[in-house]
Symmetry: C2
Subunit: 637 residues, 2 copies
């Protein structure tokens, strides 16, 4: 192998945080139009440069008068004023109000000269002479003091006063005050620009064609981290994908360093790509730190490239997002002067004991579920950091200290959510993947389903973490559950359209040399197949093993419920284990072998949880779902 860095001297995570904090990510301040200022942070103090209002302003509809002329007026004894004109809002008064005179005035209008108070219209009555069309006088039925119903110029905001301080986050109300001051642009803290350089020859941008046979995979980190950057208040700039070539990588990294406040590299898990970046940063910048004592993320790099800061993230998506969230996002928020949202962390209790003793900080991916008492439970999600699905099966990470030996069941922990917008699921379901189930879940608000298969689903339900398990086929495990309802589905052999091999039943699989694709052992449909094989063995007076050995492909189980049918569809198998509904959906033919029940079984403690009740209600009423799938029958609780 190449002379890959081994990162023997891992830095303490706090040292890594300090190294990142020492980098200067803050861009210059800038001026933005008021209409785009929401969410930004003021770069400097704003003092009022004008009085608000800029004139003495009537604050009710009514009549502007000299207050002292109204003294003594009351309901029984109104005082009459001569009407000298009208002042509308938005016009300059052309009249002056003298002793015993009044002017009709609208809310918001300028007080005419001479007047110092307004009588509300409700306390007046217009008087019109018998032969006139318009009133000539007004009777005032209550007294007002000078200043009554008038807002003096500068009462709201006085010119020269401090209006908003530097560092103020601009929400709608601050936008309102800035509007009142007449500002149509605002000095705000700059948005840090974060360049994202994705590396590795195997990565392909979403939307482009993927060649799996070459080991290509879609680039997950670029868009994930870009979204994280923008959530933290930065602006993400994606650079075209770089391979493992030194010259190309150098050019890209230096271009990004020139254009951005911080450059993140991320993407590849391949050692050679990491090596190339390492060399570029070492040769063209300064490497402050390589390797941090944290799991995941050990190979993190921190340095400088030109005038830009540089952080190298791990390649696996969950690791990259975790390290970004824990080490990099706080620095971006700091540079953008935005606080971490309160909702970015939640507290909960460990759903079960979890052993550690890692010897370094562990950022453990964790899922959230709510127990019967409404308390948040936290459970580790450990699918291996290469799994993209950990991203959506976990809700965040728990930081476990290096010297922690275990987290006890019920121990309170803090979960740093992957996003302040992450919400704990309202329902945690596990078990058999099924097209009817998918449609039922579509009708619920924020459910989580882990397609672990029926057997594993029941096992997990017995661990009391999930709310419900969806269980298909024969069951060999005794778990106390509450049945919420279910359906039946027709299962059998999926064959190419037209059934070219004329497959007729299970016997063909055993007796002929057909390429078969099976499901994994945890699938309920696999248990149904195994039961059918058992029956055939009995019928033929032989052993099950004898029969399965004769089926080419029996031993390799695929994970997805459509996987065998898809293998048939693309021509890489003759027969696949699957559902009639799947064969229909993919335009394939189907040889039925039987009908199996699918039951939704609830953790007895969680039956009254809202999400479980909603699912139960859908199960009862969603006959349309079952009617729309061939081979399905509704079979309520």
């Amino acid at each position: 192998m190449s002379d890959r860095k081994q990162f023997r001297d891992l830095a303490d995570p706090d040292v890594a945080r300090e190294a990142i904090a020492s980098l200067d990510l803050a861009p210059d301040s800038e001026t933005v139009p008021l209409a785009e200022a929401r969410g930004r942070v003021l770069a400097e103090r704003i003092d009022a440069d004008l009085d608000v209002p800029g004139f003495d302003r009537a604050s009710v509809d009514g009549y502007a008068v000299r207050g002292r002329d109204t003294f003594g007026a009351d309901e029984a004894d109104p005082i009459e004023f001569d009407l000298v004109g009208t002042v509308h809002a938005g016009t300059e008064p052309e009249i002056e109000v003298g002793a015993g005179e009044a002017a009709e005035i609208s809310t918001g209008a300028v007080m005419p000269a001479g007047a110092d108070a307004v009588v509300m219209v409700e306390r007046t009555e217009e008087l019109t002479d018998a032969d006139a069309e318009t009133p000539s006088a007004v009777a005032v039925r209550n007294a007002v003091a000078p200043g009554d119903n008038v807002m003096l110029a500068g009462t709201d905001v006085a010119a020269g006063a401090r209006a908003l301080g530097p560092g103020t986050r601009l929400t709608p109300r601050e936008i309102g005050l800035l509007s009142a001051l007449g500002l149509d642009e605002v000095p705000v803290r700059g948005t840090p620009t974060i360049g994202i350089v994705s590396t590795g020859d195997e990565l392909v941008r979403p939307g482009e064609e993927l060649h799996s046979e070459r080991g290509e995979i879609y680039d997950v980190n670029s868009y994930t981290i870009a979204a994280g950057v923008e959530e933290a208040g930065g602006q993400a700039k994606l650079y075209p994908h770089a391979g493992d070539d030194y010259a190309e990588m150098e050019r890209l990294l230096l271009e990004a360093a020139d254009e951005c406040d911080l450059v993140l590299s991320s993407g590849s898990t391949s050692a050679s790509a990491v090596d190339v970046i390492y060399r570029v940063v070492e040769e063209r910048g300064e490497l402050l730190l390589h390797g941090v004592a944290v799991k995941p993320g050990k190979p993190m790099l921190i340095g400088e490239l030109g005038d830009s800061a540089y952080v190298g993230l791990p390649g696996y998506p969950v690791s990259a997002l975790t390290i970004f969230r824990t080490f990099v996002a706080p620095a971006i928020r700091e540079a953008a002067a935005l606080p971490e949202p309160q909702t970015a962390t939640v507290r909960g209790r460990m759903a079960r004991r979890e052993r550690y003793a890692e010897g370094r900080l562990r950022l453990m991916p964790a899922g959230l579920v709510t127990d019967a008492d409404g308390e948040t439970l936290v459970y580790p999600v450990d699918k291996g950091s290469g799994a993209t699905t950990s991203l959506v099966e976990a809700d965040g990470v728990v930081a476990v200290d290096p010297d922690t030996e275990y987290l006890g069941e019920g121990e309170e922990v803090e979960v740093q959510l992957f996003s302040p917008d992450v919400r704990a699921p309202t329902l945690l379901a596990v078990g058999e993947d099924d097209p009817a189930l998918s449609r039922l879940l579509d009708r619920l608000d924020n459910p989580r389903f882990l397609p672990v298969g029926s057997r594993e689903g029941l096992r997990r339900l017995s661990n009391t973490i999930p709310d419900v398990a969806v269980v298909a086929g024969p069951v060999d495990r005794d778990v106390e559950t509450v049945d919420l309802g279910g359906w039946t589905r027709e299962w059998g052999l999926v064959v190419p359209a037209g059934n070219p091999e004329r497959v007729d039943g299970l016997g063909d699989l055993v007796d002929r040399d057909l390429a078969f694709v099976n499901r994994g052992r945890d699938a309920g449909i696999r248990a149904s197949l195994d039961a059918a094989i058992e029956d055939l063995a009995t019928e033929r007076d032989t052993s099950r093993r004898e029969l399965t050995d004769a089926i080419r492909g029996y031993g390799v189980g695929t994970k997805g419920f459509e996987s065998p049918a898809r293998a048939v569809a693309r021509g890489s198998a003759d027969v696949g284990l699957g559902l009639r509904a799947t064969a229909d959906a993919l335009g394939l033919d189907f040889v039925p072998l039987g009908t199996e029940p699918v039951r939704v079984r609830a953790n007895p403690d969680r039956v009254e949880r809202a999400g479980v009740e909603e699912l139960a209600a859908e199960l009862e009423t969603a006959s349309d779902v079952f009617a729309s799938l061939s081979g399905y029958d509704h079979d309520a609780a």
Copy 2:
């Protein structure tokens, strides 16, 4: 007056909510690029259309072998394999691994045909023949089972599986999963477009020239509500300002209705503008409801215009934002499928008893302050709904039921914040406005200062709501406080540059016919002036009243500390009461009358609050602030 609607039959607020809920604001779904999908909500379920990974993938760096060939290998007894080649990530393997053979493989690379397991590089050693440059074999020091260190195709996500459900909010992690599935565009719920039509002849857009003499004011509501719309997940569209003309208003409203999902009108408090809108909606659309039993916001209109919904907001900024936040924002969020952020409300205790008995729902503007125990206190902010500053002096509103007679001191209430991004201030200061204070406040994180003057400031401090009061000049009230420090400032008469009237001292004000601009009674500097007049009266053996009657303008007090000086600067007065620092800042001349102390006095219960301690620390160390202002001297506690 015109035949203005009186809204005698006010609708119940719940009826108004239902009326708004009955309007259809939800736009069609749309497809957006993945890079712009963050924060959006999935319009439909996304099923995986490919396996992730799409091939059997090495999950460590090492050697691909047939697992069964390694059985028996251990540290003491390694097994040798012939090296048949190398497989890098992102390349198609060109080799096949037979019995006793191994291929070097990188993490993420495609498993070569024949191999079913990978031995980690750390458990191997390359063997190079004496005369060769490259290794020809590898010694394997531990046994691996078939499948070890290999991630089978579809293990992470299987083609056909439900990946994300409809209604899922797209945070970085969901963006990650969508990337892994190769999607570069995503079907999302549409963003409701909200048209904002601003009305009233008196309104001027920020940035344009303001003619205060005509009663013009800046349009506060348009940008405020636009920011609120975007915060709620809508897209705001501002229409050019409309006056009170029926034909123009009709044209604008119908144009907005045609282009938007919801039209909001807002801006004017003038009855005629409201009348015009009312008529347009009644004649060209359908008015569902006019007038709601809520304070503020009684004149709210709800209806339909063409295919669009319509809501008319009150004219005063705080009222408009309050009604928007309470009635309209929830409907926009619903249409955008976004939940209300958890941080949009906080609970706290009433800082003092507050009487009501309004007979209708009251949405009371309220400020937040933290008491000595860290508990949130809520106090009413009642400056009259016309005051823009209520927007930033209040943090949100408390909904008080129609039949509530009073809220008791200590009673728990819920505050609906004006924005989920609103944070309670870290310090609530009241009292004398002062340029040194402004600079000190700039150094604190999120302080709130209410420039109510020294006298009113001390009064409020004695009510125990604020943390500190800033008090200038002589004090006539005895309040128990802790002095945190302060400064002195030179005060006197501000005159035009060059002092054209040759003003020499207080005597000139009394003896000559000079136009004087005073400060209000709550200002500390006014108390200093009054004390000086008292001294002059004693000296002249006359009464103070005698002297003040002789000063033209003595009786009218302005609010801002710069107001008198600004009046002098624009030529509308000969002399103004003010600071040497203000005269300097505005390029005016100054006739000193004395030096007055400014003290920062803390509520004894709050001395240990972080914000108060920070202010005290700044007071101690910020000599540079005082050195930078003419006539100032630092005078620490």
